[in-house]
């Protein structure tokens, strides 16, 4: 039993019977997390400095330090489902100021990676769609192709008409090209996606 289960008991039975805190075991989830990031979430002492400086804090459901807390307690799904994970802008303000030298931005990266792998459904469908569209361009062309990416993104999100008025201007200024510029050795890039799939 990991610590989080004690919390559930209290929540469901509604009583405040003695809460036994157990050491959080290094279960497979934590081990995978450590393998990706090289750091154990137990390192975080929950000071909240990360959240205090996080630019997307006000838009996020959970403070970033809470996402770490969920993981510390074993509420993995709760952590992976939190929209904070996908709203994180990767700015690394948190990592730069963390008194425990916990690289929270890297932790957030790992949460996105692990969430996707586990097919966790998140409310942040748009962000997911954006990243997917972006990476697909790289996979197919070797470089990002903005027109193709936006097209794919719009199809994925069915948000077809937002910002379309910008397109003609960008096209005429040469900022958008309709056809992607493909690199010569496209295969060498494609095979890098092996690990992801």
């Amino acid at each position: 039993m990991y610590a989080g289960e004690c919390y559930k008991q209290i929540g469901t039975s509604g009583n405040t019977e003695e809460m036994k805190m157990h050491e959080v075991h290094k279960d497979p989830f934590i081990e995978e997390l450590i393998a990706i990031t090289g750091q154990d979430p137990a390192q975080c002492y929950q000071c909240g400095k990360c959240s205090a400086g996080c630019p997307v804090r006000e838009f996020a459901e959970d403070a970033p330090n809470r996402v770490v807390r969920y993981v510390q307690l074993g509420f993995y799904d709760k952590a992976l489902q939190s929209n904070t994970v996908w709203l994180c802008a990767g700015c690394q303000t948190c990592s730069g100021r963390c008194p425990k030298d916990f690289h929270l931005a890297q932790f957030m990266d790992a949460m996105r990676e692990m969430g996707t792998k586990r097919h966790i459904v998140t409310k942040e469908k748009k962000t997911v769609a954006f990243h997917e569209s972006f990476l697909d361009q790289i996979k197919w062309n070797g470089r990002s192709h903005e027109f193709g990416m936006v097209l794919e993104y719009k199809l994925k999100t069915m948000d077809l008409f937002k910002d379309v008025d910008l397109v003609p201007g960008m096209l005429s200024r040469g900022k958008l090209s309709i056809l992607p510029e493909k690199i010569k050795d496209g295969n060498s890039v494609k095979k890098l996606f092996k690990e992801k799939e």
């Binding site: 990243h131 990476l135 070797g142 993104y153 060498s188």
Partner: protein, 225 residues
């Protein structure tokens, strides 16, 4: 001076003007740029949201190409590209497991020896006095506010670029044009750029947060890279 050049996707697309003016400037400074042949995207924030090895393998491909093409220093003007290249280099040099994983994907062994410069570093590298001599027009009518954002200064142990909270390297560069940069509080604050497509509202709000103090100073321009 001869340098490898990694333009990155946005300088080929939405930031085209940036690319043009940069090339013109460097030409005036007698810096030859040779573009890495057949470079590919660094993966930006999407790759490290998807897979940690992919995020390293994409930039690593370019580092290896540059090396193969005989380069030892490359300039990456886009902050995101710069950051991804620098982080990748650091990881591959210091993290055995990551290096092995990336080598497996690339099917090539990795070896270091590449210096990665962002624009501000490049100008310092050329030497501010050298640049100063070539300045034709004083720009004292401008009051620029320098914006570093996230990716030039963080993670500070890797980029090793100036002070993490109160950097001044960019100010030093713009001030040789005769301007006086204004000091402001949000030099290293995040603008949310990675959400510019999916969450335009957030980006608008974050960018607006930063603007007012900068606007107070008359005729302010914002420099970033």
């Amino acid at each position: 001076m001869n340098l490898g050049y990694y333009p990155g996707c946005s300088l080929e697309g939405s930031a085209k003007e940036f690319n043009q003016s940069l090339k013109a400037t460097l030409q005036a400074l007698e810096v030859q740029l040779s573009e890495i042949d057949d470079w590919s995207c660094c993966g930006a924030s999407s790759a490290h949201s998807a897979n940690h090895l992919l995020a390293l393998a994409l930039p690593a491909r370019n580092l290896l190409l540059a090396k193969k093409q005989g380069m030892s220093e490359i300039v990456a003007p886009c902050a995101a590209c710069y950051n991804r290249l620098a982080v990748t280099r650091h990881e591959l040099n210091n993290n055995e497991t990551a290096r092995k994983g990336v080598e497996d994907l690339l099917e090539t062994p990795y070896s270091d020896g590449m210096q990665i410069l962002n624009l501000v570093q490049l100008f310092h590298h050329i030497g501010l006095p050298v640049i100063k001599e070539k300045i034709k027009r004083q720009m004292s009518f401008l009051k620029p506010a320098c914006y570093y954002g996230c990716l030039l200064v963080r993670p500070n142990n890797i980029t090793g670029f100036d002070d993490a909270e109160h950097p001044t390297a960019m100010e030093q560069v713009v001030e040789i044009t005769g301007t006086k940069a204004v000091d402001w509080n949000f030099k290293v604050e995040c603008c949310g750029a990675s959400h510019s497509i999916a969450h335009t509202k957030i980006v608008e709000k974050l960018s607006k947060n930063k603007l007012p103090p900068a606007r107070c100073a008359t005729r302010t321009s914002i420099c970033g890279s």
